[in-house]
């Protein structure tokens, strides 16, 4: 079993070069298209998370969950008595991007927490003794949660790593006229700088708009997440460390003029790597 070892600068150095797991949990935002795609693909591939942690948006969610925080092995009984048709929360806000709704459909135990970097989330993860955590979109993670499981947190980034790190990296890679792919990696203290587990090609079709590429990105990210966790459970996944100089980190929003140029280039079929 590999164990992430953190260097003084927060980068992850694995003791062994293979990530091999038996159990995992999922953490992330409550409403996220990217996260829902990851969880759905993983669950539909027959890989069941031990539990999920969702960042609460409202006080009533915390009130409902806080009773479970200190209960040992709450996940064993949490899904009992659920009805798939009942609203997931009091507001009844179930949409196709709702992580809570997805958990209920697939009967994955979940609990709301105030945030992912806090003590509550770390203690639940530690008590759960999972080998790895799947990040279903969330804030920048800090050390307590990064160290809370044996193999660390796995993120699926919708762009080629190590080359394109940070925000809107799919679009920057497209702007750079590069073949697209999505990348699964272990999260470290940097932005998308942790060891890479796998990459999967993201095809672009001649008729695609930017929205089409984004949508396909969600789907391929989900497929890669399922693939990586399946392999990590069955045989282990080799780990490929990144070096800081191997990529560029894109920060902030992509300027509107760039997005418009990208849309025009796709409309005019100027991309060099169509399927």
């Amino acid at each position: 079993m590999p164990r992430p070892v953190y260097s003084s600068k927060g980068s992850v150095v694995m003791e062994k070069d293979v990530c091999h797991i038996q159990s995992f949990a999922v953490i992330g935002l409550p409403v996220t298209r990217h996260g829902v795609s990851l969880i759905r693909h993983v669950v539909e591939a027959g890989l069941r998370p031990k539990f999920g942690l969702i960042i609460a948006q409202r006080d009533d969610q915390l009130e409902r969950s806080s009773g479970l925080w200190s209960v040992p092995e709450w996940w064993e009984k949490a899904a009992e008595g659920w009805s798939e048709t009942e609203p997931a929360s009091e507001s009844g806000a179930i949409g196709e991007d709702s992580v809570e709704a997805l958990y209920r459909v697939h009967r994955v135990p979940y609990v709301f927490v105030p945030d992912l970097n806090g003590q509550v989330a770390c203690e639940i993860i530690s008590r759960g003794a999972v080998d790895a955590i799947l990040l279903a979109e969330g804030p920048i993670l800090r050390e307590p949660i990064l160290r809370a499981s044996r193999c660390g947190v796995v993120n699926v980034h919708a762009a080629p790593l190590p080359e394109y790190r940070g925000n809107h990296a799919t679009r920057w890679a497209l702007y750079h006229d590069e073949p697209l792919c999505v990348s699964a990696h272990i999260v470290d203290k940097g932005i998308d700088t942790g060891p890479i587990l796998a990459r999967q090609h993201l095809p672009v079709m001649r008729t695609d708009t930017l929205v089409d590429v984004d949508e396909r990105g969600f789907k391929v990210c989900g497929e890669l997440a399922a693939e990586v966790f399946a392999h990590a459970i069955r045989t282990g996944v080799p780990i490929q460390p990144q070096r800081p100089w191997q990529g560029r980190t894109f920060k902030g929003q992509m300027p509107r003029e760039f997005i418009e140029e990208l849309e025009r280039r796709l409309r005019d079929q100027e991309y060099s790597h169509y399927e």
Partner: protein, 464 residues
């Protein structure tokens, strides 16, 4: 020149370490033909103190970091003078003030940091347009707005420092030429008669060992943007055969994606070496595709010794404000034996997207020659072999004909890239290998500057 005047003495701004700043000073030293000896005060001094040999005029300059925090909109071009000579250098927005006390000079701002910023393409890191097709256009550069796209700021700064500390620029190139023109040709399209005609042209201009950049990608490695010939086929081999018979240098014209894929680079290098029967040392990316710093890091790791990809597709100019080869600083390995030689002039600059008039062309080249000759630099040209087809590309090689003729009249030597780099590497090795950092006795020794007390607060203890 006495033995002591073959050394540039640089007192660093503190105990260090300052690996990147040392690299930059070595580049300055190599341009001045001087070995650099570093000294380190035991306490932070906050400034560089520079002189040549064991005495003479000195330069004091504040240390303001590696230039990483400079903003593209915050840098300014400043004029400095020494005697009757003037140079344009780059500094931060606060302005540049030069104070002379006798022969000694003090400046109020760091000029080495901005050199690092230029050589590491700091400007482009802040301008996302670099990512448009992996290209960076000259029209997007802040130096274009300053009218300094073709200003060799690195060499200007080195030459000014040399002038201050009484270290004149040495003749830098073969046959005692003070400056050089390097000729390279990209082989993007193969056609009957192109290569022999190009060889004949270059022979008439007495270009020594010109460089030809040849593609060697497989079908799988190629894209719709790549040249379509396959070097492993008989037809391509037959058309390229005259190059094997001639005294030329062959480099790899890396495919559209190879600048960011070490696997592609390595495979293409091997393929080209198999065809060429000799080692391939040079590289230029197709389309000038480039990603800092990883393209150079991969090329170095794949066994290349130089890269000539740094150029603008739209305008002639010096993309790193540098008109000579410089050694690459690898962020993982420090100074490595890999040279970056930016391409200043490309054939299409004068024809596409707009055709330059002959008057405009002549005026530009004349000014460029003056700039490069006065700092003993080297001008790298890039012409495509297929544009020798005068029926389809009327006038394209006439421009090269004029450049080479004028350069010869102006005292430049003309050769391929490899020959220019041989001269540069000799200088670099002479300047660096023979000059270890000062390590004296038990660490309490001092660097004797007492004969120059007007310049110093006191002797510096040497800490390593």
């Amino acid at each position: 020149m006495s033995e002591t005047h073959t050394r540039l003495q640089v007192m660093m701004p503190g105990p260090g370490p300052f690996p990147y700043q040392e690299h930059l000073w070595r580049l300055v030293g190599a341009h001045l033909g001087l070995a650099v000896r570093f000294g380190y005060p035991s306490e932070p001094a906050g400034e560089y103190r520079v002189f040549c040999g064991s005495g003479g005029p000195s330069l004091r300059m504040p240390f303001e970091g590696g230039g990483g925090d400079l903003l593209a909109d915050g840098v300014r071009l400043h004029r400095v003078r020494q005697g009757r000579r003037r140079w344009k250098v780059l500094a931060g927005a606060k302005g540049l003030k030069v104070k002379c006390q006798g022969a000694d000079v003090t400046v109020n701002t760091d000029l080495i940091g901005p050199l690092g910023w230029l050589l590491s393409l700091g400007e482009e890191g802040q301008i996302y347009r670099r990512d448009r097709y992996g290209l960076f256009q000259g029209q997007d550069s802040v130096r274009r707005r300053m009218g300094a796209l073709s200003e060799p700021i690195f060499e200007n700064t080195a030459a000014w420092i040399g002038a201050v500390v009484d270290a004149p620029l040495p003749p830098a190139y073969a046959r005692e030429a003070t400056w050089a023109v390097a000729v390279s040709c990209d082989v993007d399209v193969l056609g009957d008669g192109y290569i022999p005609a190009v060889l004949e042209f270059l022979d008439e201009h007495r270009v020594e060992r010109p460089t030809f950049m040849i593609c060697a990608h497989s079908e799988e490695e190629g894209t719709i943007r790549d040249p379509s010939y396959d070097i492993t086929t008989d037809s391509a081999s037959r058309l390229l055969e005259p190059l094997r018979q001639a005294d030329v240098e062959v480099g790899l014209h890396g495919s559209y994606l190879a600048h960011d894929r070490p696997g592609f680079l390595m495979a293409q290098k091997c393929r080209l070496e198999q065809w060429w029967g000799r080692s391939v040392q040079g590289h230029r990316a197709h389309f000038y595709r480039f990603a800092y710093p990883r393209s150079w890091a991969w090329q170095h790791r794949c066994g290349f010794l130089y890269d000539a990809s740094l150029g603008y597709p739209d305008l002639p100019g010096l993309r790193s404000a540098c008109a000579s080869p410089t050694m690459f600083y690898d962020h993982e390995r420090g100074s490595v034996p890999f040279t970056v030689f930016p391409t200043a002039v490309l054939d299409q600059h004068f024809f596409w997207p707009t055709r330059w008039s002959r008057r405009k062309f002549r005026k530009y080249i004349s000014a460029l020659f003056k700039r490069i000759a006065r700092i003993n630099g080297a001008l790298l040209l890039d012409w495509h072999t297929y544009t020798i087809d005068a029926q389809r590309y009327r006038g394209w090689w006439d421009r090269l004909d004029e450049i080479l003729s004028w350069a010869r009249e102006a005292g430049a030597c003309s050769s391929g890239i490899g020959k220019v780099l041989e001269d540069y590497r000799r200088r670099w090795e002479r300047c660096t290998v023979q000059c270890p950092a000062l390590v004296l006795g038990d660490g309490t020794d001092t660097l004797d500057l007492s004969d120059r007390s007007a310049n110093n607060q006191g002797p510096f203890p040497i800490v390593r």
